[in-house]
Symmetry: C2
Subunit: 475 residues, 2 copies
């Protein structure tokens, strides 16, 4: 049977999650491997998801006063050395241009792994008075971080992202911005990607190289591992001092600005796949799905069927729904499998009898339920249903995640917890040694502090602890 | 007077056009120089124009069946050598990555100057059957061509562009695609940028490295020079053979595909500036202007003025107009100059007396006319006026250009023509020697063949000629 053949092509989601992931991203034509090791080609179906993500984020950034701009890809190597932690963190991953235009360059140039340095350099040139603050700029760009082990969307040497960069007159304002943009990310992740996230501050070990503090949002994948879905960084005056980002304040004094940065990347597509996917393939939330509804004609050669399908398509399109009519020669069963694998949220099946009875069958990809809906007012029904799917997917992901949060008061407890596919909350004394022990003993890292929770003892060393950390294995 | 001070800051548009251009792009904050020589930073005001260009082109590409995708930045150097003309054309301009991740690479990698090679490599992997043809993919990306002499937007080592890449089963279909996409560009240039363009085939000397034929659209700048605003390339089977882009045809035979490519870049922003700008600064066509209407309150501190301005702003926004209310502390005169320099198509002036009389003054940036308009139904009036400005700007640019097309039947005639700031039509025998003579004698190049026109004699050597070429100095 066609369906079984299809399913057989995808590895078992329970038994071999990594292979399931690879099968799904390749077979659904989201992505392919580029000719240079570690690079990816984002194919039209994957790129359309990215464009939807961009549109949603652009709207939110704009509401928060951000404007888009574009800064150069190539950064003088000397820029990196200006911020000590930054160079230490990024130098090992940098790709370097040494020759151009047939000549060796006087100074080697780095392909940006992130743009704090080049943007800092420009801000120092632009900024003069407190009146020009805050500066709120976002950039959509490609960045390059040379990685040994790569996987499409999750870790590739080149990826696409947005990086927001703000500069402020005061420390309080800059810190507030970091919190505000983290909240923007959280709302976006939950309402657009239907992925519940846990937000919190990162440990010193896990923070961005050059930041005073990094805040992250962590998403649970179906294997219980965590994926860092976005980060915001309070940079203090570190980059302002390194790049002379100064302004004349109201009181007539020259002061250094406080800066922040924040970013999300094409990793989010990986998060979508692993947070919602199942044995049949992708399950995409309607807000970012390239195709929200696919119409499959039944007995398409019977008079009037294709015409009615086209009519329904036009009706849905007019309602602003992204809809596709699959009028190819393939069998309905083949089409069902294909579009289920591609994660299209709703399928409308329409045959001669349905048309006679004035109804259509509507299949939900997330719950696999199929119900008859009246053809009259179908666009409204579908719109409501898409909103329901979006809400239900978030709810289902929340239930999955909440059932997988464990508590531990020992190193063994942490190991057992992550072995069982959980996020593990544990008291932590704050020392690097204990954090490293968790890594070597349980292959888990500190994802974020559990905000608002407190502990008495460190689960690792037993000493006094105040804060609770969420440990997990991570992508 | 503030106004004069402002104008003094910009070099004389008649006497020193190059300096006028530099002054305008920098002072209007469209762009700035990046830290690496030859690179640019596209600032928010410039990037917003680019985003409007992208939106307009995306709509057109989609209508023509194209989908967006993203291919890797880095290309193995060996890829370039697979197409002989291509490597010869691009190798001298390539920036090369030799080190990454702290190690020297086994094979040096080129930063893409254009993506025919890497996309060809992927198409060969994807394409199997004639059923999958045509492939119609577009990419928005940064590219790098190391240039000795650079100017913001016009020629920079890194720039942003779109590159369309299609593959077809037959030669006819691929050639037709090249013509179709050139027509799409022309319609876009005229209706969105208000720039009339002359389209035609390029000479062998001027064609894309690796193409069978290149077609260009040429736009006249205010100094009479030409700017190549976009090109489409019929690549024949050159890249298909170099990269094994093959398919199983209906007749059971393996065949090479025929491919095309086409692109426009951030150069278009330079074209906008030089096609429409004047002594006061930018003049932006409404379709791509970041701000279409600026509202300047007069006697803003008088009761009710700012409130009414905000009301008008909301009304225009609701009608889908991009509007800004300048409620800063600067004087109205200062604001007038500022927004005129930034090229905002319409300015609405609203003071206590206007409000009393139920009208507003509306200033047109393109014609410098100011008229009173009733506040009732202002959104409709403004919408119509924006459409009028858009049409009139194209018409004015057409009149300017058409008055500057000369004919020549000698080398001296060509020189005189281009010295006078004209596009010069002249018969050409077709030999490279004559083309080179025009270059060295008149510093002019063959822009495109004048489609549908014929000649008897070559203006340079006097030998028999059939085709007419448009010669011009060019950016």
């Amino acid at each position: 049977m066609a369906k079984e053949n299809f399913v057989e092509q995808i590895a078992d989601v329970e038994k071999d999650f990594p292979q399931w992931y690879t099968d799904v991203v390749i077979k659904t034509k989201l992505v392919d491997y580029g000719p240079v090791k570690g690079t990816m080609v984002i194919r039209p179906y994957g790129y359309a998801i990215w464009e939807n993500i961009q549109a949603e984020l652009n709207e939110r950034f704009k509401k928060n006063g951000y404007e888009n701009a574009y800064f150069p890809l190539l950064i003088p190597m000397s820029f990196f050395t200006k911020e000590a932690e930054h160079v230490e963190g990024f130098a090992p991953e940098v790709a370097v241009v040494t020759h151009a235009g047939g000549e060796e360059l006087a100074e080697p140039l780095a392909i940006r792994p992130t743009s704090e340095t080049v943007i800092g350099n420009m801000y120092s040139k632009w900024l003069q008075s407190y009146r020009e603050l805050p500066i709120l700029i976002n950039q959509w760009a490609n960045v390059m971080r040379w990685e040994k082990t790569t996987r499409p969307f999750l870790r590739t040497s080149e990826f696409l992202w947005q990086e927001g960069h703000s500069a402020h007159a005061s420390e309080e304002e800059a810190e507030a911005e970091t919190a505000k943009m983290l909240a923007v990310y959280k709302e976006f992740a939950e309402n657009c990607l239907a992925i519940p996230v846990i937000c919190g501050r990162k440990t010193e070990k896990e923070k961005f190289a050059g930041a005073v503090a990094t805040y992250g949002m962590e998403a649970m994948m179906k294997d219980g591992k965590s994926l860092q879905a976005g980060t915001t960084h309070f940079l203090g005056q570190n980059f302002a001092k390194a790049f002379e980002i100064k302004f004349l304040d109201k009181d007539g004094a020259q002061k250094y600005a406080y800066t922040t940065s924040f970013g999300v990347s094409t990793r989010l597509i990986g998060a979508l796949i692993m947070a919602h996917g199942d044995q049949r393939g992708l399950v995409l939330p309607p807000v970012v799905a390239p195709v929200q509804v696919v119409i499959v004609p039944i007995a398409a050669k019977k008079g009037g069927v294709l015409e009615k399908c086209a009519e329904v398509k036009t009706e849905l399109e007019k309602a602003g729904i992204r809809v596709k009519l699959d009028d190819t020669d393939n069998s309905p069963g083949w089409k069902f499998n294909e579009w289920e694998m591609k994660g299209v949220p709703l399928r409308i099946e329409l045959g001669p009898r349905d048309i006679e009875e004035g109804k259509a069958l509507v299949f939900r990809r997330d719950t696999l339920e199929k119900n008859a809906c009246a053809l009259g007012g179908l666009a409204d029904t579908v719109k409501e249903l898409l909103a329901t799917v979006q809400r239900d997917m978030l709810e289902a992901a929340k239930v999955r995640r909440d059932g997988r949060i464990a508590y531990a008061d020992s190193l063994d407890g942490i190991l057992k917890g992550v072995d069982g596919g959980n996020f593990v909350k544990a008291g932590w004394c704050g020392c690097r040694e204990c954090e490293d022990k968790v890594k070597s003993y349980a292959q888990a890292t500190a994802r974020v502090f559990a905000e608002g929770e407190s502990a008495k003892k460190c689960a690792i060393c037993g000493k006094k602890a105040e804060r609770v950390v969420i440990f997990a294995r991570a992508y």
